[in-house]
Symmetry: C2
Subunit: 342 residues, 2 copies
Amino acid sequence: MSVSEQIVMAHGSGSTMMRELIDEYFLSVYGSAELAQGNDSACLKLATPTTELAFTTDSYVVTPLFFAGGDIGRLAVSGTVNDLATSGATPLYLSLAFIMEEGLPLSELRLICQSIAQTAAEAQVSIVTGDTKVVPRGKGDKVYINTAGIGVFLSQRPLSGANCQPGDKILLSGTLGDHGITIVSARENLNFSTNIVSDVAPLNHLVAKVLQAAPATRCFRDPTRGGLAATINELAAQSATSMTIEESLVPVNPAVQGAAEMLGYDIYQIANEGKMVAIVPAEQATAALAAMRTDEHGKNAAIIGEVSGPPASGLPAAWVRTPFGSTRVLDMLVGEQLPRIC
Amino acid sequence: MSVSEQIVMAHGSGSTMMRELIDEYFLSVYGSAELAQGNDSACLKLATPTTELAFTTDSYVVTPLFFAGGDIGRLAVSGTVNDLATSGATPLYLSLAFIMEEGLPLSELRLICQSIAQTAAEAQVSIVTGDTKVVPRGKGDKVYINTAGIGVFLSQRPLSGANCQPGDKILLSGTLGDHGITIVSARENLNFSTNIVSDVAPLNHLVAKVLQAAPATRCFRDPTRGGLAATINELAAQSATSMTIEESLVPVNPAVQGAAEMLGYDIYQIANEGKMVAIVPAEQATAALAAMRTDEHGKNAAIIGEVSGPPASGLPAAWVRTPFGSTRVLDMLVGEQLPRIC
């Protein structure tokens, strides 16, 4: 491969080569009017005067860059869109910053940028500002991406995990574990099954539908790193409640379940990238579920458990009831299960 | 060094170890109320209803992490604050995301976080949301930081490089080349001089003072990667003007000048991290200069050149007039001068 077909250090130097890379690979593929202006910061015009904003960031270091159902570009847009959506905000604007390793094939960068463009269009967000850095061989791993995002609250109060109350229902938008098992499968060439595919997707439209149908929804949370176990433990801690999941109600793809068991992974601790947990008052839970199921990313949604009062002193706050009727603690991951999942 | 004194993969896994790292190293050192809430996105309350926002991002991959006058933490806050300030916005909120390499000493992380806290306080910005990723040894270089920032326009229209007009004056807030020469000196153990120190600093207060004194200021730009040469070329291109710098008027620390000459660097192409270029109508240039000089980071400010009409067809748009009266092209960097300067 010739030097002209891969990233070299000069692509990150503020030189004319960086300018050309930005024009040909970024602006022409996912450029917005704001990005095209080329100022050091984008000036954003909001449609209505606003006093509340949602703001979030994530870096993406997934390996491999391309996997069944997605790639690092789709992940970088979806993950940040979903973090905004969980607060009840409408995602509007993203920043996107590359840290590229010298030697990254430009053909791979092109594919990633096309995926970014497609996912941003799907989520209806604009990429308005960016940054390009290059590090020498051996100081990175092809490409890392950071996105930050801004959302506005159109009609909805900000949501928070602290809002959960005893009696609320716990909804999950679909099957658990697909992303994590896809990544480990791609990385280790395990070839478990052809129908294991990452769920990575922007879920802001799903969240908007749920909020329309169930405006009293307490909060959303996407069960990414640490999986459902981390999400439920965090929400219980934030709201000083306890929460119980009914194992028999949790949707799981049997091929994913089999792979998780073979690998010794707890399905509740595996990362998801296109799933949403919603905590909804009981009287609106059916409406919320129906709304989730109308969305293409929520077809397999289910009510999987409920919120109770504070745990007894010294007892854990997150539990699973097994199909045999016994309950066990929904343990959070302590160390590392699967690095660089996102 | 024991494992407990350095970053391990589990610090990035969404596990309890990540939670403890966030609490002890990030929240307790530079935490804001929004960061402490622990939601997936921060909810920001603006003091007044707003329809225009400034938004920017940069990743920081500087090596070494610590250098005379600063470190990667001070750089990560200052760089993004300065990009917001250039648009005339008041920087308010930052996101801050770490990509750490397994093995990063926690003692170094602590110093970086303290520097972040100090620089954010100096700039009067809050760090409201963040992210933590860990990559294996050999897939990073100790730590990379991304910051994104949001600013608001209090009373000022957005500024743009496109606003420059013939007759405008070009102001520079201080000496050129200090950051770049400091970095190369630290990296290569050159020990040129004890008085070569990085200029890295947040310049939002300096910008606010200039805008107060010279409200017709056309634009600001901070001459980082690519140096003053890139800044002047970009501004001339954006505004379809030509620009000429008077070499005799450009402030340079003699020790930095000597080092640049020894290394064969063009002083105009060296990166700065605490300098601001302002383009100001001639009738307000003196007031703008006086305002710059009242700021601690603008003591050596000078008027260094002026804007003229569009360049003749086929001719370059950016020029330097030498002390001997001749003019030469202010060339932009084509390839790589000094990698990982910021």
